[in-house]
Symmetry: C2
Subunit: 395 residues, 2 copies
């Protein structure tokens, strides 16, 4: 079932939680090991916003995400390929996952026309016209050379009727098959890559399929059957956190995650809050990404063990305490809320840097604590106490 | 001659250059040693723009500058005082110098009225009215608690007639005397500080006087006589790099710097380019500050041993080389021009961070090489080769 190009990619399950579906695992890539459950900070344009690569290394980030749509438009996948691929371009020696570009095409661009072949869209930067298809997405992702690449899917809009969601998942299924075929071609035949103007910079790329079906459980299961038939190196749950109720989201996660192959990584795309992470881990999810820690940071919204705080709030004006008194991060070890508020109110770049550093640290630290608790067999207790602390709120 | 409050402040001259007026020295403060000649990165609003304090520590920055005008307006000197002073507020354990606020009042604010007493001005942030005088400037600087504070001066506008410059330096001289008197009062009498709403957070503040006189050498000498009569812990040359010709600027520096007391630090305010630094060191200057490395960085202008490069330039698009192939900084050790250009063109915060880090590193490294060459007795040779390399330009 492993793809021809992913011969160095491996997932090992190290432990199962007895009370939930949570599992401890390890992904091996040619750019290092990823302990799971893992959170992947989002590096949209080849940078996790406001953080240096060395800060991310210090935070023990094992894998980050890059956005195919953004990197294709700027600086261009062929330029990155010519410079040795995304790892070398952004000087990040650890693992990278790239998405398929589908989500951004459907959420960021204005005019677009979709047919069986793919999607024509206009760049959000300069309005120029482009065409993205499963084949094109694979070419871009092969050029970037991430360790994990995603099949090209249509992220079903929300809300969608049962019929719309069905049509959407059917095209996603056909695109998944074409994605695998094209990626296999590119990796098995240097001439194919050369014809696409690129060279294979990472001979060991794993391809993940994406489960769709909106909030309809029958469609989610149908989508899953299609993916299993094709066979992927890992399986993602897509199309969630797009406006649906939390209960609908968790109905999907709790139904689908446990049915994904136990011997492959399971990735919940674009989710979510700290609460979502621990709850989805309990459903058996291994991998997460979300812009929330970095985006919230730039808006002055900070995560803590006792819930979120808004650093803009006047009550932090003279507060000498750190963001979170139990947080071990470099920001909480050095800076006060009063100083961070001053930086934010003054529009200083350092405010964005420090708030991002804290928030990403909070997410990665949460994952570390999740992994430790699964190892120790105390995940359920950890989850209860983590969630009740979050709900208590800050003083 | 030492002020009552500066009993822990000390300057030692360690070596004189035989061919120039350059000197190697060491300033002792209660927040660490400063090897001179030294460059002080500018931390306008309590942050050296785009750099973390730990980056500055890694660059061996021994002292940074804070702006009295900005910190007075936001977050307010009394808030900073209440939180323990500027060192604690910004979590910077090394030395700090604050300026007097005069330069910003005269350059940033709109409506202002000046009389013998001081200057009324409107905040550039919200238009609110404020009054700054020598006494008020000393209160603010005592509240902030920097290791080195500056007498309140009028930065003579350029161009100024001989008569205008004379009037300006005369008021600056009277303000210098009042500055010293008020600072001495605040430090010697806790009730005086309490009446100003503050407490002395740094009992060891050194006060520097500022030489003015525009481009008129006779006025510069007259200003110097006045300062020496009052007596300060160090002497600054102000009012330069405000639009005058380089030759006029160096006429002042080369005339005044060598006549400043040899046993006190000499500080050239707001200057300048890398060329200016080595040339002013040759005139006997010990300390510098300038926004150029950080401001240029945010505009994509990068310093290198072979002159400036503009990272926006299309020729860097696919350039895998570092900014400066002989630079030892963390940015040049890791990132390509192509990546930095991409960050800049994409408006990414990391672009500002990395470009600032490189530029400040270039300035601090230049000072380190200046100090080494004075110690080795090869400063003049260093200066020649440094300047000719800068003039050669980049490939």
């Amino acid at each position: 079932m492993l793809l021809v190009m992913a011969d160095h990619f491996r997932f090992e399950k190290l432990a199962d939680d007895s009370a939930t579906h949570a599992r401890l695992g390890r992904i091996t890539t040619t750019h290092g090991l990823i302990e799971t459950p893992a959170f992947m900070p989002v590096g949209t344009q080849g940078t996790v916003k406001a953080l240096t690569q060395s800060m991310l290394e210090d935070l023990d980030a094992a894998i980050i995400l890059g956005n195919t749509y953004h990197l294709y438009l700027r600086p261009g996948h062929l330029l990155i390929n010519q410079l040795g691929g995304l790892h070398r371009f952004m000087a990040w020696p650890r693992a990278i996952l790239t998405d398929s570009g589908g989500f951004q095409v459907f959420s960021l661009t204005g005019l677009r026309r979709m047919n069986e072949d793919g999607v024509e869209f206009q760049s959000h930067i300069d309005g120029s016209r482009h065409f993205l298809s499963p084949e094109k997405s694979m070419e871009i992702q092969a050029a970037l050379g991430a360790d994990i690449v995603m099949a090209f899917d249509e992220c079903t809009p929300y809300p969608a009727t049962h019929d719309e969601a069905l049509k959407s998942l059917e095209i996603t299924a056909r695109w998944a098959r074409r994605s695998k075929q094209r990626m296999t071609e590119l990796h098995s035949n240097p001439d194919e890559a050369a014809r696409a103007g690129l060279r294979i910079v990472n001979p060991s790329q794993a391809l993940f399929g994406i489960n769709q079906g909106s909030i309809y459980l029958d469609l989610r299961e149908r989508s899953l059957e299609g993916l299993l038939e094709i066979g992927f190196d890992g399986y993602a749950i897509g199309g969630l956190s797009v406006g649906e109720e939390k209960s609908a989201m968790f109905a999907v996660i709790s139904t689908i995650a446990p049915r994904l192959p136990a011997d492959k990584p399971r990735y919940l795309m674009g989710v979510g809050t700290p609460e979502d992470l621990v709850n989805a881990v309990a459903c058996g999810v291994d991998m997460f990404d979300c812009v929330m820690p970095t985006r919230n940071a730039r808006n002055g919204s900070l995560f803590s063990s006792r819930g979120k705080i808004n650093i803009k709030n006047a009550r932090h004006r003279d507060d000498a305490r750190p963001i979170d008194e139990v947080c071990q991060c470099a920001v909480c070890g050095r800076y006060s809320r009063a100083y961070l508020r001053h930086l934010y109110m003054s529009g200083e770049i350092l405010g964005a840097v420090l708030c991002s550093l804290h928030n990403v640290s909070f997410y990665l630290d949460t994952m570390k604590r999740i992994r430790q608790s699964i190892l120790l067999g105390t995940f359920n207790e950890f989850r209860d106490s983590f969630l009740s602390n979050l709900a208590r709120g800050q003083d």
